[in-house]
Subunit: 337 residues, 2 copies
């Protein structure tokens, strides 16, 4: 297989680091590998597959000869550099929200809508973590019957806010347990031993951007402008692994048996649903699974067309880095580079 | 005011201790005070309002001359001792689930349905913590328009499972932070840095007893058998303070303004809803408020009859001990002892 030259923009971040791990784990055919980060990391060396790679800052020409650029360094930087990279002829897979809703940018979860990759014009967007696991888990169910409405409350890990957020939860937890003063930099309130119903900025509607992303991105990925989505995004003191409490209404009444069967035979999902043995998805399990975990399936007690699910995934992997690498793999498979 | 003789059964538990604090804080007219607990605490002394009170175990006659017995020692013990206490002529206010759904036992949140107290025959039930804050917050809204449907996902603190559960979260958190082995006794899985969608036992429907309590108790308190309730009860690593993400559908479309106004003028609620200033209810705030905190009010983006709220309360106080003491106060006020 032809080796591909890769650039990772944001290589020292929580998602960038996970991308490096995943490229190695999946034996991605990497030729040259450029690691690009901010000036404060420049010159640092990273060991990757026994190679020492020196971190660079962005400079003109750094995307020359690069086939695929994986971006995970925030919207501002993506807006500035992704078009430059695309103009250099490389395909950008962007993990920020900068391009997700642009009509000429495919927004891809490969298992759900890989066919849209063919429409790319140089930039492909990776959806938000909380969206990816939701659409992945619901995809086999909407093959059974159209999903008309989703009410979802999230239980999101701090790793979604980056490495500083992980340190903040760790430091605050230690402080609380030792009776020391709690310091705060990343989150708007103490996250240790608390639940914060606020992720990203508030819009005038009263919803946060994180919540609006779940609405807009789910509609775009499902190619269904009519699906009604009611989200509440909440940060909880978990290091990694997002959980979601999901209520759906489908056009036809579905039985638990057919839904379980559909999930069971979907390779990218793992049904963890034996409540009598205390088995259901847990954030802590996501360290061990690349699949999206689905459990606690049960029917609403009133509406035969309504069902509840508990959906859990590794937000750094399937919710970000893994999905991006899977997009790259799909581009190779479909010969779209 | 005539002083009343009180017994607290389960006086050394998380709720029992809070009852003692609240009786002192609210200057409840306490005459004799019997503190009853299990054998392992017997003989221990508790300092209450500068009095030393010796903890007793249950023995025959211990409810003689008692006016009100506050029970918080689990369903089994309530089933055994509450009828005995009631036969002795004292009024039992029971915090367990033992009698909540009995037709001859009023299930009371005083601000919502105090009028049902008159029907008591010796035992009055205190609702489950997650129900109390839900019905309290929704009560002024249903005066505006009937609530037809509730979809609720909870973020419940460990204190709801008692003092051992508080220690377990503390010990597990220390273990994780220091890389030590995590030990588990109270919860079915590690609770530190995790989210567990499982509180109380599972029923065959796939719902837990905790979830079914929210359905049955809400219907009984609202005296509305038709209200549709879809609950998901989740334990998160918070020491105290339950949060709830709530979606409601009302019979008529309500505006945010009229709902906010209704909440604002309700004395037992506190509207914390200035998202532009990062103000919304938080579990950590419940240390400072006896009111149920309500915020993040917003309209569903599709259904004008649907609204979201974020409801937070101190589960040991309003969710248990305070509500029980408020029932006692109401009994005095209405001369129902």
């Amino acid at each position: 297989m032809r080796k591909l030259n890769l650039a990772i923009v944001g290589a020292t971040g929580a998602v960038g680091q996970e991308m490096l791990k995943i490229l190695a784990q999946r034996n991605f055919p990497v030729g040259k590998l450029h690691l690009i980060a901010s000036a404060k990391s420049s010159g640092r060396k990273i060991l990757w597959k026994k190679q020492e790679i020196v971190i660079e800052t962005y400079q003109e020409g750094c995307f020359d000869e690069i086939d695929i650029a994986l971006f995970s360094a925030g919207s501002l930087l993506s807006k500035k550099l992704a078009p430059i990279a695309a103009d250099c002829g490389c395909v950008v897979i962007d993990n920020s929200s900068a391009f997700r809703m642009k009509h000429d940018v495919p927004l891809i979860v490969p298992e759900v809508n890989a066919e849209k990759l063919a429409e790319h014009e140089g930039i492909i967007a990776n959806p938000n973590c909380s969206t990816i696991q939701l659409v992945a888990a619901l995809n086999p169910l909407r093959q059974l019957s159209r999903i008309e409405k989703i009410v979802v409350s999230t239980y999101q890990a701090v790793s979604g806010s980056g490495l500083d957020a992980i340190s903040e939860l760790e430091n605050q937890s230690r402080a609380v347990l030792s009776g020391a003063k709690v310091e705060r930099r990343v989150f708007p309130h103490q996250i240790a031993f608390n639940a914060i119903p606020h992720i990203d900025l508030f819009e005038t509607s009263g919803y946060t951007k994180e919540e609006m992303k779940m609405i807009h991105e789910t509609r775009k990925i499902f190619d269904d402008d009519q699906i009604e989505i009611n989200p509440t995004a909440v940060r909880i003191p978990v290091f990694n692994g997002h959980s979601e409490s999901v209520y759906i209404e489908t056009a036809q009444a579905l039985s638990l048996e057919e839904m379980r069967e559909a999930i069971r035979k979907t390779s990218y999902l793992k049904l963890v649903d034996e409540v009598e043995a205390d088995k259901y998805p847990l954030a802590l399990m996501t360290e061990f699974y690349d699949e999206v975990l689905v459990g606690r399936l049960r029917k609403d007690l009133h509406n035969p067309r309504a069902t509840n699910l508990w959906i859990v995934a590794n937000n750094l992997r399937k919710g970000a880095a893994l999905n991006a690498v899977q997009i790259a793999e799909k581009l190779i498979e479909l010969d779209l580079l």
